[in-house]
Symmetry: C2
Subunit: 355 residues, 2 copies
């Protein structure tokens, strides 16, 4: 088979203080291997992580110039000799991870997202020091384990946000037993939360949505929430004492009434926060958890096994992200600004305009 | 049957700034009911909670004058008409809880320690407003559910510290699956930790002890630790990456390398902190937990079912607290000062001298 392309073009940032000043450059793709899939990118979702990264919220940039974006959908243009799962012309996606060691206990147990050698999709380096760049670009290449088939029923622009936002909530939901007979709390209804409501509902759980925005009630209910609770109301949690089996928070843990929410958990219950704020958790006292032996944890995307399970469920049940706007990639700065200013209700998606 | 005594005498504190100025007073015992057991106290352990409470670390006193102590062993002097489990003359104990509603889901599911109407042994009030006073005293009366039979094999002074220190570690250990095939970390080797090592070992787990005190290695190993790790050494956690199924910390969460310890957990693992510090947790970032989907939680004593299970295991396996000193109750101030100054290696126990 012919050799694949060696470069791509993308919109990148070199200064976290100028996080909307995207420049277009050509750069080297991952060094090709027999296991790699190369795709032309059609759509890329704009994730909160993109903003945390290029604004410096999570620290200085790891590479001199960073192409963000890890909710990628496109078409396969080349496969390595050992790729059996995909073929040229197939519609596929890439999420927030592009490599792991593939031989440790975690990789072997479908926990490759927790592999200590995991490589993020962007702002990272492959083992041979080639910089990993994201999806605000023409193309990406990565190992087939981190490429996902997109079911026919799901449109490309709708599949894109599932590959990070969707997976980030789907994985902890299923790992923490979301299903029939369980009552699950979802905190925060944005890009992640609005997908979490749908997944929890279609996994069979009773879904209680906690939000500080009364104006999101209608959306929450139509997405599958059984009850909607406004957290700015005094004593909002009282009615839910000892009712919740599990809570998934997609909000910044420092912006929510953490103690009150933890208090709604049943004994030994768990809350997972998938919002990774720029600051440490504040004012969290173990006393809040001592009243019900609850625990607060975090989570990181999900495994390929979970991506496939999620996309199958989404295709079958009609679970889709709500897309506020599809913008051409050249308007990435506008999208980033909107996310940073909390002007995005659910999700912005960028459409290819460089290729 | 004759009416039981209505009062007891104890050593109490009325000013958190003068937390060693114990005064002896007579006070009203719990209003007697048909389900109550009254006991003469022989021994009472000195718990970190006593110090947090009477020094004001957990807030101002809830009652004007507080008798601390909730690791109580003594002899039954009276039982109510509906008490079948105990008889006069029997050796029994009382821990850190003296009442719950006994009809909620939690009470019915052997989670009475998490009942929202639970009453602490001291610095609390019974529903009829009678002040609940603890074990630095001649006698205590409470509902039979919160009274425990002491197995013959265990000496009274050794049974006392098990009823709070022991139970506080035993309950989360068993609830989090400590047993054969599991590797459990125990952090901090004091009054709670030295019992946790023994329980985890005799429950069948491999036990890794983490301590900042290299001089406790010998004790830890003799108590059942398989490995001893000094947390002040750089990179101490590296060797234990992905090795621990569960961690129980009996140390102040603000005094330990929380992120490093969480990093030793397997994916989806949990750490429970049973040390309830005066201050909120500091600098805890969800990022530390996102690398392995771990969670940090707390716990509160245990149920009667767990007390009985614990005492049976302790009797069978020879699990005992290490008692540094037995002091007469009149020297409670000396004991409190020693705990506060971290001069107690494992446990001080007070012996009756008022009756």
């Amino acid at each position: 088979m012919s050799a694949p392309q060696t470069t791509a073009k993308g919109y990148g940032i070199s200064d976290t203080k100028k996080y909307t000043d995207f420049s277009v450059k050509e750069y080297k793709l991952k060094t090709a291997s027999k296991d790699d899939v190369t795709l032309d990118i059609e759509f890329c979702g704009v994730c909160g992580s993109d903003v945390h990264t290029i604004t410096g919220g999570w620290g200085e940039l790891g590479n001199p110039w960073v192409v963000a974006g890890h909710e990628i959908v496109g078409t396969v243009t080349h496969v390595g000799d050992d790729v059996k799962e995909f073929k040229v012309g197939q519609r596929v996606g890439v999420g927030a991870q592009v490599l792991s060691c593939m031989k440790c206990d975690r990789c072997e147990a479908d926990n490759e997202q927790y592999c200590p050698e995991q490589v993020d999709t962007y702002n990272a380096k492959f083992p041979d020091e080639v910089e990993a760049q994201g999806g605000y670009s023409t193309a990406i290449r990565t190992h087939q384990r981190f490429v996902f088939a997109i079911p026919e029923a799901i449109k490309s622009e709708e599949a894109a946000p599932m590959l990070c936002a969707g997976l980030t909530v789907f994985s902890p939901l299923v790992r923490n037993g979301t299903g029939p007979g369980k009552t699950v709390g979802i905190v925060g209804i944005g890009g992640l939360g609005h997908l979490a409501i749908q997944f929890a509902h279609h996994l069979g759980a009773k879904v209680i949505v906690f939000s500080h925005s009364p104006d999101k009630k209608e959306d929450a209910i139509s997405l599958g929430a059984d009850e909607f609770v406004v957290t700015s109301e005094d004593g909002f949690a009282d009615k839910y004492f000892d009712k919740l089996d599990y809570i998934l928070s997609a909000a910044d843990a420092n912006m929510i009434p953490l103690g009150d929410l933890l208090g709604t958990l049943k004994v030994d219950g768990r809350m997972t926060s998938v919002g990774l704020p720029d600051e440490p958790w504040k004012g969290l006292q173990p006393q809040a958890m001592a009243s019900n032996a609850s625990a607060l944890g975090a989570s990181h995307i999900g495994s390929k096994k979970e991506v496939n399970q999620m996309l199958k469920l989404a295709a079958e049940k009609g679970i889709r992200p709500i897309i506020d706007q599809v913008l051409p990639m050249s308007q990435a700065g506008k999208a980033i600004e909107a996310v940073k200013n909390n002007d995005v209700r659910y999700r912005f998606v960028l459409k290819q305009d460089l290729a």
